[in-house]
């Protein structure tokens, strides 16, 4: 064989070997097994945010399962993406703080539930469709039951999606103050109770079709949101975008079909944005 041809074949073989090596390295990284490198669940949501600018992003999704969402490896449960919700096997641990003397676990009730409601940490929010959240299921045996009394199987089912940081778009249809509850140490002041904000998919829809999102005193302390602002958004029916933590509230099954479409909530909500003049504007910046 001529020398130049041998060199060409050798070059192709080396190129193929490098390509195979790159694929293996990517696969290992994708499973979160390379310490020291940014984890896939950090990097991929950011890539997803760029995907609208990448022609043929759909082709990439075909080649890489779950592109734009997080991997489900290292999970003992049968996690799989629901709609456009990622199956995150590892989720950020809730960070809490004592607020006005009230600890993250509240003053009684279900302390595990209260710690989730009172979290204050920000997340890498993943864009989720309204339907993906509204369509999440749950085992009926968890309804009206404190978490310490859930079966391991039920807890695993809820844990599959609870704690995913999400961003969801829609329209506001109601905004009300909650009553005193153990989460907020039964305080009665306006600034110490949650606000229930009902989000629907389409303008003018009834609360029965809403996902309940909630603002908490700890988060509102960092914003200048008012109930009046939220009610103005209900009147104007401007599109809103809410970011926060996906959370399951087992306490209100009899509100289904009346005040909500699901027991899954965005709670606490960490950011509220309004689509105005062709761009998303933080509600804080509209004051």
């Amino acid at each position: 064989m001529p020398r130049h041809r041998r060199r060409s074949v050798k070059g192709r073989s080396q190129g193929l070997a490098v390509l195979v090596l790159l694929v293996i390295v990517f696969a290992v990284w994708y499973q979160g097994k390379i310490p020291g490198l940014p984890k896939p669940e950090k990097v991929l949501p950011a890539i997803k945010g760029l995907s609208t600018y990448i022609p043929d992003a759909d082709a990439v999704r075909t080649l890489i399962p779950n592109f734009g969402s997080t991997p489900s490896s290292n999970s003992s449960q049968s996690s799989s993406p629901a709609g456009d919700l990622p199956a995150m096997s590892v989720k950020p641990q809730p960070q809490g703080s004592t607020f006005q003397g009230c600890p993250p676990e509240g003053d009684g009730g279900d302390p595990e539930l209260n710690i989730l409601k009172n979290r204050i940490d920000e997340g890498d929010y993943v864009s989720a469709s309204f339907d993906a959240i509204a369509g999440l299921t749950w085992p009926s045996s968890v309804e009206r039951r404190d978490r310490e009394n859930w079966s391991a199987e039920d807890a695993d089912a809820i844990a599959q999606y609870e704690g995913v940081p999400v961003t969801v778009e829609g329209y506001l249809t109601a905004a009300t103050e909650s009553g005193p509850e153990s989460t907020n140490c039964h305080a009665t002041d306006n600034e110490m109770v949650d606000w229930h904000v009902s989000l629907v998919e389409n303008p003018g829809e009834d609360r029965a079709l809403a996902i309940v999102t909630e603002t908490t005193p700890r988060i509102r302390a960092n914003h200048n949101w008012t109930l009046g602002q939220l009610r103005d958004l209900i009147d104007s029916q401007e599109q809103v975008r809410i970011s926060g933590w996906l959370f399951f509230d087992p306490e209100h099954p009899d509100h289904l079909g009346k005040y909500r479409i699901t027991l899954w909530e965005v709670h606490p909500m960490m950011e509220i944005e309004v689509f105005r003049d062709g761009t998303w504007v933080a509600l804080d910046d509209l004051n």
């Binding site: 006005q100 003397g101 009230c102 600890p103 003053d107 009684g108 009730g109 109601a174 009300t176 103050e177 909650s178 009553g179 005193p180 509850e181 153990s182 140490c185 039964h186 305080a187 009665t188 229930h196 009902s198 609360r207 306490e251 209100h252 009899d254 509100h255 005040y259």
Partner: protein
């Protein structure tokens, strides 16, 4: 005639307490003692409190009245 009845109560309780104090346990205990303290007013009635628990199911349509 010997009679019996099952009554439903809806009680609102408020007052000052330390933030982290278990307010539900505290107020449930208080209501049980208040009911017990009033039994002597009606010795002809036997009153048995079956259960008292916090009503966590706030109806979003009702504004709580403190």
């Amino acid at each position: 005639m010997h009679k019996g009845i099952r009554l439903k109560l809806k009680v609102w309780v408020e007052g000052d307490a330390e933030p982290a104090q278990d307010f539900a346990a505290y107020t449930i205990d208080a209501i049980q003692k208040m009911l017990a303290a009033g039994r002597d007013l009606y010795p002809q009635l036997q009153v048995e409190v079956r259960f008292i628990e916090e009503d966590r199911d706030w109806d979003d349509s009702e504004k709580f009245e403190a």
